[in-house]
Subunit: 473 residues, 2 copies
Amino acid sequence: MANADWGGHSGSRLGLDIGGTLAKLVFFESEVCPSWCTGRFAEVIKGLGKSKSENPASADYGFSRQGSFWGEQENELCFYDEELQGYFHFLCFRSEQMERFVSLIAAQELHHDIDEIFTTGGGAYKYAALFSEHLGITLKPVDELGVVVKGISWLLKRPISDEVCWLGEEENRTNKTFESECHFIDSSTNHLFPFILVNIGSGVSIVRVDGTDKFERVSGSALGGGTFWGLCNLLCPDCKDFSEASCKAVDGDSSSLNLTVEDIYGGDYELEGGRKLPGSLVASFFAKAGRGGNLHDDAALLHALITMVSQNICQIAFLNSRIQGVTKIVFTGNFLRQNQVARQVIATNMRRVTATSQQGKQLQALFLQHEGYFGALGSFLHNVEGDMKRVPTCQRLPTFLGKLSGRSPKMAERSAFQPIEFIFQRFQRCIRCFGNKKAHQTRKSTDTSAEKFTSVPFPKESGHQPIAREHAV
Amino acid sequence: MANADWGGHSGSRLGLDIGGTLAKLVFFESEVCPSWCTGRFAEVIKGLGKSKSENPASADYGFSRQGSFWGEQENELCFYDEELQGYFHFLCFRSEQMERFVSLIAAQELHHDIDEIFTTGGGAYKYAALFSEHLGITLKPVDELGVVVKGISWLLKRPISDEVCWLGEEENRTNKTFESECHFIDSSTNHLFPFILVNIGSGVSIVRVDGTDKFERVSGSALGGGTFWGLCNLLCPDCKDFSEASCKAVDGDSSSLNLTVEDIYGGDYELEGGRKLPGSLVASFFAKAGRGGNLHDDAALLHALITMVSQNICQIAFLNSRIQGVTKIVFTGNFLRQNQVARQVIATNMRRVTATSQQGKQLQALFLQHEGYFGALGSFLHNVEGDMKRVPTCQRLPTFLGKLSGRSPKMAERSAFQPIEFIFQRFQRCIRCFGNKKAHQTRKSTDTSAEKFTSVPFPKESGHQPIAREHAV
């Protein structure tokens, strides 16, 4: 394993999450002693985000932006880790393209140093034979929800700013960018636990998270991102790309499709006890399409579809948060990626139900910038941990282990067996780059309060009576 | 008011519920001293269910089965009331056809004896001017949820069998009729209160019902019957009729559209703690349609649409029942009418979540045979009550009032001012007819236990901690 600089093989630099619709990949590109293989890996993976003309190798295998679900490389999520001296790259493509991906790896001979990869998502089972037969790589499945929680917990403990945000009021949808409505909070000094995690992939998982190792799936929904994309394909067949679809939706007007309370009652609907359903509230999604004359533009259809899926998820999350007695609700998953309408619908509806709540409990919808990649990030951490344990000490180079504490490699080796959340605890700063390696900017200095996350006693919300958790639907 | 035989005007024989998509009408046809007007009314209304060739009058106004949402007259719901000596007829048509309906009433001169009608649904506001200008009739709005609860409470207290049922296991969907899977319960000897009412019209209202006059809307959803019909129109434009759509869906196979747990994981998905998500469970509705090759037949699309809407409603109902600590969930609304797939999906999913519940609480999904007409029935009861109070005593004929107690008309008059639930308490038997007037069969003799409904103290479920109710989404 010539020039291995992080554990024993380049598989430990990868994190894979192969979902029902999308495969998500995290890759760490080290600038320190790169092996031939990891350098080649980085070169190919970074190239996947480029156009065909820029990257003929990927074009041969059909990894074009138009041909994929979400696009490929997420340059705006890439960040440079000054202490690890390397870049974290984020990439996704449609899971059904896995054969092409495997062919690309084989053709570029990137697999020779990899014998196993911890992988999450159903694809860890589904594509196990494909990886084994064509690449000689064993996909080792890891629990999907566990790695998402692991990935979130790890990233939130890093001193990264601009990761967790809530959305402000929507004043003028068409003239405001998402960025201007986003209020980032310093998660390193806020105790997020306990929270309800709503992970929106093809389907939706709802998880109560009390700590990195203390979580439980309490509910879910089959009406998720896959539903949106499936119905989008049926209703707007010209729309080939999720990114295109979510951008088009921003300018859509779904009032020709959705039946509002005002359409039925001529205004607000007064409930018993003086409460009101506002006239602008959607009473029935798509109900106006049942009246014939179905000449709706794609933007209206897409806006209505995203609104339906997002508002429904918001409601199920809200009901579960009440059952669990938890007020912080964290929404993640690739459905939210570049999906301004979805985020805004969730934020607006959460505010509305909080405002009309008789109990007056403040529920907070929170969003994470790396929303779709926590499964892959958690798998990456598994690979690093697994690699630490598996590779003989003699093969571990001091370039990585030495960073852990400044102690001797032998001392450092022991600490490598601690849970991953402690491994990076002493790294001082993390610098993001937005697609530009040279634009290093120090965002935040060391904040030792990050350690608080592990010492929070996971208090229950006072005044709530949590009902015993069950798997819902 | 020549020959008036029930109160002062034929409006008191009507119940109207004008929803966002459908208008529902209940009409009582008395066999005792029918006035010219009520006889004509019955003749026209009964004729609406016939084909154009049988009923040229209705054909002129476009009330054809194909042109309507649900068909028109529901012969199988019609029942004969032996004590009232008359028939209850049930009819529905699309709300947007209201102008045609009003024109029909005007052309047939059926409105001369009617000055006001208690009406529920948004149409009571929306079409008020139409009724006033063309017919001189005032539509008096009554609270929508209140009349539904009123209608249910009234019908359940009548000694009618075969009204409330639960569905058994689905053994062989294609070879079994709905009727054979339906297990009727004798609601007159069972205490239904408290229950969660899930009323599925265009949208969905979720109401906690503790008694006839004790109820509260606790939640709702905009993903309801209107959503199904709207998406049906967009995806299956050749499908012109709800009845046709729901029948087609029975033979549909949505496995080419819905992504199951097995599709992702190759089998069951094991959760922490040993619980499992079964492989057959849908993980993402319509997700397979996102993979291109969208040549799906109407039956598959309709099955997938109904499954999506029904399963989602079931989940929201389940979550609300947990929050409220109530185990009986009654599903009503015209979306369920002739909709075998919807009922079965709800019943199956409710069984599943009950089986996987860690608390082991038995949740029961119940269905009512007159599911879509309780709003109209409640409005009818309002009209009867209102008429009793409004019409001078001298104009009330003994033919109806005398039935109340066998007492003198003056004595009977006093009892007419009692709440409607007491008015019919002493009627002995009620006989249903299924589209055949002659087929009178005594289903049940008097059961005085029906009175228990009003004396039930609405006990809370033990072991639950009901959270204060809020309006949800």
